[in-house]
Amino acid sequence: MRLAFIDQVFTWPPLGGAPLDVYNTMQGLQDLGHEVHLFYGTQKENWVVDPVDESSLPFSATAVPYLQEDLEPAIIGEKYREAVDQWKPDIVFQCFGFFMKPTLTKALAHYPQIARYYAYEPFCPSNYRLFRRDKSCPKNYLRTPNACRRCTLLGMRANLLSGHTADYVLEYENVQGWSQHYYDELISSLKQYKSIIVYNNFTKELLKGVTDRVHVIGGGVHLKDFPYHPLGTKAEQEKTIIFLPGRAEDQTKGLGSLLKAGEILYKKRQDFEIWVTIGASEITYPWYKTLGWKNFSEIMALYQQSDICVVPSIWEEPFGLVAVEAMATGRPCIVADVGGLQEIVVPEETGYIYKRDNEKELAQHLETLLNDEELRQKMGDAGRKRVEDNYEWNKLIERHYPPILEEALS
């Protein structure tokens, strides 16, 4: 089959889990014998995002270039339609995108389409994270559109008032994200997809009543990228390394909870260090080490140097790839009871799950693992086994995708 993947915000090298997911899904489907091709949006004048390094992609790709002033539904729809029509796919996968995703779905309505949601794009137009005032938000735009419209607009107030709108806010303005028309187009796109793939059961629940063609498929890892590295025995004075990987500077990632847990622990013991992949900050503790942003191979080495991995997210983390990566390396994981994370870790077996934002409970679990080297090793080994059985990319693709593709063509 010829499978086209549309990602309006693709980055490579990847910034975050979404482009990695696209990459691995495409590569896995290619390995199954399908022809795959990526179509991605690119803005050359944007300084934040580096150009996609196409030479390091194992599949073919077409950039769909646009300028800020092109960010109009009609123009964007036309640009992607033109590019995709030239390639003539059998199925189109709609990957990451924000307010333009329904527009593109409409522009490519002559193909069977499958959508992947990486965060909470259709449920939270405010920030696609269902995260408001430092907490998870219980609302859902599909069910409470009027409340969500108010929240979205008030959230964009500062940006609109500055007179410098771009990207997310500009898309919102240009598609008239507040309108009945946009809401209808979003609902219609969700109903139009032959399948919708989400990361966790929480997201599946949010789509209830709109469509039942929803599949929960987590992300995964290639085991060769994360070789098993069993925990060794610690020397007498050697510190135990607690590691928080990922974009820790992001408020939703819960670094604050981990630091508070560190403060609690440090009063009792000084045999640990907390390592975080974050740039230098004004926060200093004798047990806290900032590592800066690390590339893929550096991250692998850090997992191997660490003893315990913590993912203290305070939003409904859609998946939590870092937990799978740490488990693949053979590290026990302590995670918050959010979104996909609570589906990855098996409590008491591969690590612990604690109530989000509850630093005392987190500190307790850390203490249990700090006290017991054997338990760390046992949980680390169990984590590796769980990843081998459930989160190996090729197995994931082989298990889930063939029936979804058949369903899309039926």
Binding site: N146, L153, H164, E173, S179, G292
Partner: protein, 152 residues
């Protein structure tokens, strides 16, 4: 000194500084990058990434109390920057830029766009307030639509 155009970045805050420097290196590869930092700002993420570091008192309050503001302007003018980059869309930063009078002044916003800054005090004020005014009009228009029409 080299023949490369000197591009100064005013880091009144240093968050995401390496990302900005990387973006500038990509879009302005010919530039010699000078970072201007306050004495209290963390430097380790920046000093190895730029060609030159200038440490200056940047706190408006301290400058006001010590009377150091005219000296700051004079010092930065003497540096004769080709391009002066600020990161935040505030009137005080835009005015400071106009007073330093580099050949070019730019606002590199966190969402990735680069906007030219006006060069004279009057045009900075005019541009700033007209953007604010149109921003308010747009916001109030959308707010009315959100409040007075319901999505069903």
């Amino acid at each position: 000194m080299t023949d490369r155009p000197r591009l100064a970045i005013l880091f009144n805050e240093t968050n995401e500084a390496p990302k900005l420097i990387k973006g500038i290196r990509r879009l302005r590869p010919e530039a010699e990058i000078v970072a201007i930092l306050s004495p209290r700002a963390p430097r380790q993420d920046i000093e190895n990434e730029v060609d030159e570091l200038i440490i200056l008192e940047l706190s408006p309050l301290r400058l006001l109390f010590t009377g150091g503001f005219p000296g700051l302007i004079r010092g930065l003018r003497k540096e004769n920057f080709h391009t002066f980059v600020i990161r935040y869309n505030t009137l005080k930063l835009k005015l400071l830029t106009a007073w330093i009078s580099p050949q070019k002044a730019e606002l590199w916003l966190s969402h990735g766009t680069v906007t030219a800054i006006e060069k004279s005090t009057f045009s900075v004020l005019k541009d700033h307030f007209s953007r604010k005014f149109t921003g308010w009009i747009r916001f109030l228009t959308y707010l009315c639509r959100v409040l007075f029409t319901r999505v069903k």
